[in-house]
């Protein structure tokens, strides 16, 4: 179709399925592969296959795991009395990068959004509730969106009456920002959630 051999076209098509990769970038990557040594390409191919073969969902918290439990769930030094509920696997990585948190996680796999056909049953909510028996604090860290807030509210309703503390991430002014560059909605929520000095 463009004078390229079919094998090259095939790899370009496959690569351009990646998020953020357009046709031109895919071509550049394909030509890079062509220039790469056979061993390196085999290494890459093997890595791809092993990714699919070995990485799965943690049975307990739905984070990514190699084996039954993820590295966080199987780490005995972590505080099992605290659970942080997040939307996606990526959010776990964000919290881990922060380095402050020593508790466990629970990945919901999304937020409630009837418009996208996602109901509470499609999320990992029932097994979250099963995990709460020995938990003292549940931090709901869904995104500060309408759907994230609603999901947080739903979970809070479901566990009503259980003897645990439920918290939600505070929202407000980002570090290093000047007040005048803060939008009204953010400022308003920071104002409502102001803290004692």
């Amino acid at each position: 179709m463009n004078g390229l051999p079919p094998s090259l076209n095939r790899i370009v098509t496959e690569l351009s399925r990646f998020p953020g990769i357009g046709k031109k970038t895919a071509q550049r990557l394909a030509f890079h592969l062509l220039d790469t040594s056979r061993e390196s390409v085999e290494e890459l191919a093997e890595a791809l296959l092993s990714l699919k073969a070995n990485v799965r969902e943690c049975r307990r918290c739905h984070h990514i795991a190699e084996g039954e439990l993820c590295a966080i769930c199987s780490d005995t030094r972590r505080d099992s009395a605290t659970i942080c509920v997040v939307e996606r696997v990526l959010d776990v990585l964000i919290f881990e990068r922060m380095g402050e948190y020593k508790g466990l996680y629970h990945v919901l796999g999304g937020v409630i959004s009837p418009l996208d056909g996602i109901t509470p049953d499609d999320l990992h909510i029932s097994d979250l509730i099963e995990r709460l028996a020995d938990v003292k604090e549940m931090i709901i860290a869904t995104h500060p969106s309408m759907e994230g807030d609603t999901t947080a509210l739903f979970i809070a309703q479901q566990v009503q009456g259980l003897p645990l503390k439920i918290t939600r991430l505070a929202r407000g002014i980002p570090m290093g920002t000047n007040l005048e560059f803060t939008n009204e909605a953010t400022l308003a929520s920071a104002f409502t959630a102001r803290v004692d000095l």
């Binding site: 009837p114 418009l115 109901t119 509470p120 309408m146 759907e147 807030d149 739903f154």
Partner: protein
């Protein structure tokens, strides 16, 4: 605010054209399909960041091209600003003021206010409440950023809640219920702003109307559902659960507000004559201009599309006289015959004659 010059590039039938405008009356004259409305459309787009004829910017690009540019040189007393809109297929619309890109389209609203009157506006008087709600939503979106944000939030909440209502099985209301707190908050906020708006707008309207026809009374009838606070809204929603589940949509909320145009005690929609309906719309638009000027502190530009189609000669002249006194007025018409003799000497309009050599502009 006044438009001094409009530049169009690859915009519908205009490949590369400048149009100078003057203060007072401007008239765009030309046969059907010559591109008169396209000029008004471009001005509207500069002001409100979107066309009144299409939601798809790709339709606005000249055939065979991939992008358009609209540029408006504006002035307000001694202040001059240059607003530019560009759109490219596959990209996002870019808006800049004096070369500085705006981070969001919302930032443009209220900077260059316009009031547009098209023949289809008659539907505001004859059509369903949804059109009148859309009218006030548009005025408020330009004058009140908080309202616009709340409205966008409310619409999304409503969609989510209605989707939940459609999906709910058996009698498990909890999947719907979880939206109620946020929904009630948002509904209450919108009602509060609307009620305050109507208080102000109606009195401006009354004075605009009495200049048209003082012998008959006219008013805008908005009966806000009075809920003291968001929890009162929630209680009303709880009472409406059965109905919501049956109809599979939300029956309480500002999206159901009724707005009536009342003439001499009767609903204009059912009882008004065509002439009365037209007159009502004129007063409504004059009131819109005055309201925008009061709130924004900037006089809007009046855009009157195909004025002779809406009004007779006598009425047209009076409206032009009234408007051009206070606002820059841009009118499109196929002919000025209907304005009667001597109107050119009376108003000294800036004349834009179309079509421009060889260009034809089917909308």
């Amino acid at each position: 605010m006044q438009l001094e010059e409009l530049y169009l590039s690859n915009f519908r039938c205009y490949h590369d054209r400048r149009f100078p405008f003057s203060e007072g009356v401007n008239i765009i004259i030309g046969p059907n399909g010559a591109g008169k409305t396209t000029i008004l459309e471009a001005i509207h787009l500069l002001s409100l960041t979107r066309s009144f004829r299409t939601h798809d910017d790709r339709h606005l690009i000249e055939r065979g091209n991939t992008s358009y540019i609209i540029r408006g040189q504006l002035s307000d007393q001694d202040n001059k600003i240059l607003v530019q809109n560009t759109f490219m297929i596959g990209g996002r619309k870019q808006i800049s003021i004096d070369g500085i890109a705006l981070s969001s389209k919302k930032e443009m609203l209220g900077r260059f206010p316009v009031v547009i009157m098209v023949p289809e506006d008659l539907e505001l008087a004859r059509g369903p409440d949804s059109l009148r709600r859309a009218f006030i939503d548009r005025v408020l979106a330009v004058t009140d950023k908080k309202y616009l944000n709340e409205l966008l939030k409310y619409r999304r909440l409503l969609k989510q809640r209605n989707a939940a209502l459609r999906q709910v099985t058996a009698r498990d209301y909890s999947a719907v219920n979880i939206w109620d707190a946020a929904f009630a908050d948002s509904a209450h906020a919108i009602w509060r702003i609307r009620a305050a708006f109507f208080g102000e707008y109606c009195s401006i309207f009354s004075s605009a109307w009495s200049q048209q026809r003082p012998e008959i009374s006219a008013s805008i009838d908005y009966i806000p559902v009075e809920y003291e606070n968001a929890s009162a809204v929630r209680e009303a929603m709880e009472r409406s659960v059965e109905t919501d589940l049956q109809t599979r949509r939300t029956n309480i909320g500002p999206h159901r507000d009724k707005i009536g145009f009342i003439l001499d005690g009767n609903n204009l929609r059912f009882y008004g004559s065509l002439g009365e309906q037209k007159l009502f719309i004129i007063a409504l638009k004059i009131a819109e201009a005055r309201y925008l000027e009061t709130i924004l502190g900037t006089a809007p530009v009046m855009l009157l599309d195909d004025l002779p189609a809406t009004l007779d000669a006598e009425r047209s002249r009076r409206v032009i006289e009234e408007l051009s006194d206070a606002y820059q007025t841009i009118i499109s018409a196929t002919t000025t015959d209907s304005f009667g003799r001597g109107w050119e000497t009376a108003f000294k309009p800036n004349r834009i004659s179309l079509p421009v050599e060889g260009e034809a502009c089917p909308a």
